[in-house]
């Protein structure tokens, strides 16, 4: 347990992706089965444990601690699990420092204990652990480690342990269960590749590379089909051997949140498509925006009202399995024809086919890209007519050609110190635009960005922050931002939504600092009204 607890303690404070992966791979290499598999499950959220309510933990600590002293402690720390892990004084002869319970043992005990014995077990386990292990244990049983590691990152680390591609791990993933012993045995060359018993597993998706500077010069428009790139989320819908599953692009099982889609998927096969909300082309109703789709995402349960107000559907891009037959080695056009035939037979409210965009020259396609017929389109996909469906992001068969981003000029308002490599730089910036408030122009913050600039530009920004600080709040500084003194940056972003959570009422998607506008005065920066017009389907400036 101690090694797992230390891993969590390190991960939560480590900002760099590569450093996180190294911590994980080192742990997986050094830890025996089944502990490492349970750790993987805990991190990738595939471990199911009886949930322990915070109220029970409070009762346990009150058995052995003065209430006032507990309150002082909790007020200071601010997190219940952490407070209890720190104030807990082990009792009895357990000797927490001498022996280290294994993660596997703890999980077996939790899984085998009856409901009425949970209290006693939790108390006894807390008595046998050191403080860091108690923290990890309490986070585990109250649900939610919150260590800033996605399931995908954990899978990447697993792939690195065996020196294989992440696609191979994703492919096996849904056919395996904690503690993933067969997976680790295979990765270490001690056993054969695990055989899958569940048919509706996730098949790693085929991805496109962005169109680069010279890419189009070297390819012939006649070899490619163009398709709109829809602004939803890419999904894989599988119905094989009586099992139906809906996966996100990275292989997360999101079936639970979309019962409407699963119920409508009454065909045999594996489909690749875009998950959207609104009406399909077959019902002749409008496709709705990404922010409407967000209402359906990241929920544990979905109400019938939610199903009615935000109806989901899949816009089909591709077919991987036709019936039980793997057709991924067929060409794109052949697969697409099978997809079109299949979709004919499905529910019109839940499925439609992503239309092709006819074109003859790249110039023509570029014009279409800049002015698409639907606001929920974020660009163009180019697919080689004869391309087989190959997992991963190989350059050549598929390209994505995004619409140009939106741009605004905004004024720097606050800066925060970065992490890791950037810990001595002010590298996280909050910027604002002008709005009228009580008859006076004032700046209102509209977003935060911490990338987009070069290292040389970061030097310029950092110097400005250090020389123009007005106030400090811990690691944050506010900087001079007046009509004639301040720093203007060009901010590029992919989309903009209304937001009740932000003072400005708007929220940007993927904002980044695309240019330093040292040539502009803050008074020349954009106004909030401009951003609000963009929400209502307005175009970006370029």
């Amino acid at each position: 347990m101690r090694a797992f607890a230390e891993l969590l303690d390190r991960l939560v404070l480590t900002p760099q992706r590569n450093a996180k992966i190294r911590l994980l791979t080192d742990y997986f290499r050094a830890t025996p089965d089944p502990d490492r598999g349970y750790a993987l499950a805990a991190i990738a959220s595939t471990l199911s444990l009886k949930a322990v309510k915070p109220a029970l933990l409070r009762e346990l600590i009150m058995e052995r601690m003065d209430e006032v002293l507990f309150r002082y402690s909790y007020d200071y720390v601010g997190d219940l699990a952490e407070t209890i892990s720190l104030v807990w004084e082990p009792r009895g002869e357990a000797g927490a420092q001498e022996h280290d319970l294994s993660l596997g043992t703890i999980i077996h005990q939790l899984q085998s204990v009856g409901r009425s014995e949970v209290r006693g077990l939790v108390r006894s386990l807390l008595d046998q652990m050191d403080s860091s292990s108690r923290f990890a244990f309490l986070k585990l049983i109250t649900g939610g480690l919150r260590i800033g590691v996605s399931a995908r990152l954990a899978k990447q680390a697993v792939a690195d342990v065996g020196g294989i591609e992440i696609a191979d791990v994703e492919m096996l993933w849904h056919g395996l269960a904690p503690p993933y012993t067969s997976l680790f045995q295979w990765l270490e060359g001690k056993a054969d590749k695990p055989a899958l018993t569940t048919p509706a597993v996730f098949h790693p998706v085929m991805l496109a590379t962005p169109v680069g500077d010279k890419d189009l010069e070297n390819i012939d428009p006649a070899d490619f089909a163009a398709e709109w790139k829809w602004d939803g989320i890419r999904v894989q819908l599988a119905n094989l051997g009586g099992t139906r599953r809906l996966y996100s692009r990275s292989g997360d099982d999101i079936s639970g949140v979309f019962p409407d889609i699963l119920e409508a998927a009454d065909f045999e096969g594996v489909m690749d498509g875009e998950l959207l909300v609104g009406g399909t082309s077959r019902t002749n109703q409008a496709t709705r925006s990404f922010s409407d789709l967000q209402q359906r995402l990241n929920r544990k349960t979905v109400s019938s009202k939610m199903l009615e107000d935000y109806p989901a559907f899949v816009r089909g891009y591709d077919l991987l399995f036709s019936g039980g037959l793997d057709i991924r080695s067929d060409g794109f056009l052949a697969r697409r024809e099978k997809l079109a035939n299949l979709l004919e037979t499905t529910s019109a409210a839940h499925f439609d086919l992503s239309p092709l965009v006819p074109f003859s020259t790249w110039e023509e396609l570029d014009r279409l890209r800049s002015d698409p017929p639907d606001p929920v389109i974020e660009g163009i996909m180019l697919k080689r007519l004869d391309s087989p469906y190959t997992p991963g992001r190989a350059k050549g068969p598929w390209f994505k050609w995004k619409r140009n981003p939106y741009n605004i000029d905004a004024v720097l308002m606050y800066a925060q110190r970065g992490h890791g490599k950037r810990s001595s730089y002010y590298s996280d910036f909050t910027f604002g635009v002008w709005t009228e408030n009580d008859g006076k122009d004032t700046l209102v913050p509209v977003g935060k960005a911490y990338f987009g600039f070069t290292d040389a530009e970061l030097d310029v920004l950092d110097r400005f922050v250090r020389n123009n600080t007005i106030e400090r709040f811990g690691p944050v500084r506010s900087v001079r931002a007046e009509p004639d003194v301040g720093f203007v940056v060009e901010v590029a972003f992919e989309g903009i939504n209304r937001s009740g959570r932000h003072k400005s009422g708007v929220a940007m998607r993927f904002p980044r600092i695309s240019r330093l506008r040292t040539d502009k005065l803050p008074r020349e920066a954009d106004r909030l009204e401009t951003l609000i017009t963009m929400i209502d389907g307005g175009q970006g400036q370029s």
Binding site: L13, L23, D26, D66, L69, Y72, V87, S423
Partner: protein, 336 residues
Amino acid sequence: MKPDALLYPTPKGLFCELGQFYIDPVQPVERALITHGHADHARSGHTHVLATRETLDIMRIRYGEDFCNSEQVAVLGAKLVINGATVSFHPAGHVLGSAQIAVDAQGTRIVVSGDYKRRRDPTCLPFEPVSCDVFITEATFGLPVFHHPDDRHEVAKLLTSLRQFPERAHLVGAYALGKAQRVIALLREAGHEAPIYIHGALAKLCDYYQSEGYDLGDLRPATIAGQDRQAFAGAVVIGPPSAFADKWARRFPDPVSIFASGWMMVRQRAKQRGVELPMIISDHCDWPELTRTILEISPSQVWVTHGREEALVRWCELQGIAARPLHLVGYDDEGE
């Protein structure tokens, strides 16, 4: 004599009226008794200073030769009469030269512990319990959440990280007096023999420790002049915590930011400061040390100074020990 007539708080610090002296005054006074060399306890500008030889040396290093008009060395354990009050100095285990000060008059003894800790520290003498009527304790970590782990375990975390990330510089923020030298000494004890690079603010104090016989091994200035920045890859660099937020830190390759402090016990504290590897190493007592010390000394009263007074006072009440907060101002424990 009533204890609160013998010693009481004033805006300048704790005052002994009978002896006409202050203990750790925060403003310049005629006669000051100093527990240890940290800047919030040992200030310059007093007329006469009584402290241990090491504390006087440290004040001289920090403030220059004229840090006071006249100085007097307090020998540990020796009694000294000042205007009818008897004083004696006893090791506090906090940093090199740190002492508790016992003040006796007419059958009443008060011990001012200053800052102290109970666990082993290779760079100073251990705390000695002194029986007394009133024990004045600090409460920097006076909350039941603070259970400082074994130092060796914290040093092992750093050594593990050096092996895991040999291409990155490991920047350890540590208070310039005491903490920095202790971390270095603990690293040496753990078998880390490689050169350790130190910030300029640490140089004189580290030299002083070495001259007092504390072997800190191969210390080098953390400057780039004349060396490749890759020299710092996989090396330990120690400096005051404030330096790491500064441009100074940019000379190091892909630094891991580390902070050696008792505050690192609380994860959110580490997160807020952008610390990647917290080392929970403190020069103060944790909660079990504080409560054990009070039980061991068993004074009839406990006065609690700077820190989280309310929790320690509450604990004393639950134990049936008379206790009250002193509300002294001017002591800063954030740099710990």
